[in-house]
């Protein structure tokens, strides 16, 4: 839920701030900071996700999910156990 709230908050803030500053932007031709903000947002989003994905407590669950698509009838049990 934290990620959800955070992302939602960030996007609302973006839209809001864009509205607020738009009339200043109209006067200038250089709005090159748009890519920079975008990069920052993505970086924060990405860093948070990687941090979460590498938390130790998730490991067992990941191993279980890796075989999720394989039905029992498809499985060669010796193969699964060996990995």
């Amino acid at each position: 839920m934290e990620t959800f709230t955070l992302t939602f908050f960030l996007s609302t803030l973006n839209l809001l701030s864009m509205k607020l500053v738009s009339h200043y932007l109209q006067g200038i031709s250089d709005v090159g900071f748009f890519p920079s903000i975008s990069l920052l947002i993505f970086f924060l989003f990405f860093a948070g996700m990687v941090w979460w994905a590498f938390k130790k407590s998730n490991k067992a669950y990941f191993v279980q999910m890796e075989s999720y698509a394989l039905d029992e009838d498809d499985m060669d049990s010796s193969e699964i156990n060996n990995n």
């Binding site: 990620t3 973006n14 748009f34 890519p35 996700m49 998730n58 669950y61 698509a69």
Partner: protein, 714 residues
């Protein structure tokens, strides 16, 4: 826990699989025709219905939406039921989806043949079909979410994340890009003009690649590759990271289709930065696919299915590296408008989408018909023939692209263009177009090995329309349990998952598009740019109908090699009345942005245009342009003028201000006739017997208008 008995709906999967095969054959046959037309113009058949300008969108739409589209639905309907341990939500919705989609495909083909098109690439369909697509897409989503909500397995596997992202994003893109104002029961103008239209179009166009050709196929890969190899996915952690990074990043990258155009610089930079970053999540997917086969590579030797999948994933890796490279500005300055782009998309379409589809079908048929594949040998032959076809298709085009772009840019020691005649650069690479036909033919012919093999396979087994299954009832705690990770919780909360992925794509979309509206300085006003006259407007619609923009750009980039060849570079303010923009993405013929500038480098007389449209080969024996004799004899339909003027006025074109009289729509045809008579008189004076009411007159009027506004001396 109580075990529940139910059945999987195999019949719908079977139908979607057959449709995939059928439309694959049709789409690639039309592609072969398009390739033939570029190599030998006689294959345009001198018919209005079969010129390259109309055939090319049939090919692209058939392959994307009919072949790959049905492939997506076959994969979703098969894997979703099994991953969720549930039958599809509603059989009725399934069949409405199936027949609705096929009806859309057929109506698309008919309208394109008739020249009914919006001209926007991969969104050429007109408004009634756009509405039908929206409805059928909602039916698909409804059916999918209904199934998800009635599932017996708690967790949503990674494939399903990709399906959800596909559903929401395609909906957003399709609706966003298709906002248009109808001027007749079948035709319309987009609400966006010029730079905005181009930006919205490529925000859509790029993400049609992302969310129609990529994300659903990644979902497909995550299900069918482990199944076919009987190996667990390499890393679930990697799949989480690359999924979110991919859906977040992809949407920003659209402007890389518009580098060095009149699009504002900041938007171009945004597109470049995010395109480069896209390599990471794309390759995350590729590695996850390929490494799933770790320790099982011996199986690849024996299984054609796995061979197809491995080459598919490798082609995906190649395309997703090549794409970002092509969005570097200096690389793009060389590759854009050339056949490099065509080769690039065919590695994606033939390699990634085509081969993954074939791999899936070779897996599905024996599985569903409960039998063995009829012939592994034939499948192997298909694989090698298809691979060779792909190589013979792409390599000549890459080669031709390099040759042509260097010819475009070469100067003599005196500072003049070394190849001032555009046609020379086409004639030079024509042999490459011939080899490309051979590559396409190989790939197309290899399809029939699959068709035969799969039909034989189906004949040797029996496909149960309803496959019996059982699973325990769903037990899903509402709240997050102790120790349950955030994503793990999210994976059993489809609605929250959908909202979050929607937010992820909307951020990028908002950043790209909203500023273009807010910032006036993005589209500087040029005083001398005036609305089109009614005759020019009609001519422009003929230009759109014939798909001229398929081969001719209207965008001179600010390079000396282009300003020397074409004239003054294009500016954002020139396009404010262009609903839709016609910038184009490929130069099979020269750019036309400055063709109406009197005394300009591209200027041609009315007589020249008349004769050229009638028979291009008479003017230049080497020309590969189709002939357009019907423009000479068909009368221009001027009954649509008032409705067109009214629609344009509603969209903000100032036909309702001075110097136009009030109710201009009612008198516009008077202006139209006057201008038509002037052009006809000029043609008559030069010995051409033509009346002023023909379509060719309107087209000439439009061509003579291009670039004229900013050449006016104040």
């Amino acid at each position: 826990m109580e075990t529940q008995h139910f059945s999987y709906d195999n019949k719908i999967v079977k139908y979607f699989a057959y449709a995939t095969i059928l439309w694959g054959v049709v789409g690639m046959l039309v592609g072969l025709l398009a390739a033939l037309q570029l190599a030998f113009p006689v294959f345009n058949f001198n018919l209005e219905y079969t010129t390259f300008g109309r055939i090319r969108p049939i090919h692209t739409n058939a392959v994307i939406f009919a072949f790959v589209g049905n492939g997506i639905f076959a994969a979703v309907y098969y894997s979703l039921q099994r991953l969720l341990k549930a039958r599809m939500f509603s059989d009725k919705l399934s069949w409405v989806h199936f027949w609705g989609w096929q009806a859309i495909i057929v109506s698309a083909a008919i309208t394109f043949v008739l020249g009914i098109t919006t001209s926007k690439e991969y969104a050429e369909l007109e408004w009634p079909i756009d509405i039908a697509i929206t409805i059928i897409w909602v039916v698909f989503g409804w059916n999918m979410f209904g199934t998800i909500l009635r599932r017996r397995a708690d967790h949503l596997y990674v494939s399903i994340w990709f399906y959800i992202a596909t559903f929401v994003t395609v909906a957003v893109l399709h609706i966003g890009n298709s906002i248009e104002l109808p001027y007749s029961w079948i035709q319309s103008y987009p609400v966006y003009a010029g730079v905005q239209d181009a930006l919205v179009q490529w925000w859509y166009g790029h993400n049609a690649v992302a969310f129609f050709l990529t994300t659903p196929y990644l979902g497909l890969m995550y299900y069918f590759l482990p199944k076919a190899a009987n190996r667990p996915v390499y890393s679930y952690r990697l799949s989480i990271i690359h999924f979110w990074a991919l859906v977040f990043l992809y949407i920003w990258a659209g402007p890389h289709h518009l580098l060095y155009t009149a699009l504002p610089d900041w938007a171009q930079s945004l597109g470049v930065v995010f395109s480069i970053m896209l390599i990471a999540p794309s390759w995350g997917g590729m590695f996850n696919g390929l490494l799933t086969l770790r320790g099982a590579w011996d199986k690849v030797r024996d299984s054609a299915t796995l061979k197809f999948m491995v080459v598919a994933v490798t082609a995906y890796g190649m395309s997703t590296f090549e794409g970002p490279m092509m969005s570097l500005k200096w690389v793009n300055s060389l590759t854009h408008y050339t056949d490099w782009t065509i080769a690039h998309v065919h590695i994606g379409a033939m390699g990634w989408n085509g081969f993954l589809t074939f791999g899936m079908l070779y897996y599905l048929f024996p599985k569903m018909w409960k039998t063995k594949l009829y012939s592994e040998k034939l499948a192997n032959a298909h694989f090698w023939m298809g691979t060779l076809g792909m190589i013979f298709y792409a390599l000549p085009l890459y080669w031709g692209a390099v040759v042509q772009t260097l010819m475009w840019k070469e100067f003599t020691p005196d500072g003049l263009l070394a190849y001032p005649n555009f046609l020379e650069t086409i004639t030079q690479i024509l042999p490459m177009y011939h080899v490309r036909v051979l590559g396409g033919l190989l790939y197309f012919a290899s399809l029939f090995l699959m068709v035969y093999n799969l039909l034989k396979t189906a004949a040797s087994g029996k496909c149960a329309d309803n496959e019996e299954a059982s699973a325990p009832a769903l037990h899903s705690p509402k709240k997050r349990e102790k120790g349950e990770g955030l994503h793990r919780w999210l994976e059993r909360k489809p609605i929250q998952f959908m909202i979050l992925s929607t937010v992820a794509i909307l951020i990028g979309g908002a950043f790209e598009i909203i500023p273009t509206y807010l910032i006036k300085s993005n589209v500087p006003t040029i005083e001398s740019v005036k609305p089109y006259t009614p005759l020019e407007l009609q001519g422009r619609d003929i230009y759109i109908r014939e798909g001229c923009n398929t081969c001719h750009s209207q965008m001179v980039r600010p390079f000396r090699s282009e300003t020397e060849r074409y004239g003054e570079y294009s500016k954002a303010g020139e396009f404010v009345y262009d609903h839709p923009h016609l910038w184009g993405s490929k130069r099979t013929g020269p750019d036309l942005a400055r063709t109406g500038v009197p005394g300009g480098k591209m200027y041609k007389t009315n007589v020249w245009h008349y004769n050229h449209m009638l028979d291009p080969q008479k003017m230049n024996a080497q020309s590969i342009m189709p002939k357009y004799p019907w423009l000479i004899k068909d009368e221009l339909d001027i009954s649509s003028t008032p409705a067109k003027i009214r629609a344009m006025t509603t969209l903000g074109v100032p036909y309702d201000e001075a110097p136009y009289p009030a109710n201009y729509d009612q008198v516009a045809n008077d202006d139209l006739k006057k201008q038509a008579q002037e052009i006809a008189a000029d043609l008559n004076a030069n010995g051409i017997d033509v009346t002023s009411d023909k379509e060719i007159i309107a087209l000439i009027a439009y061509l003579q208008r291009l670039g004229r506004d900013i050449s006016v001396k104040e």
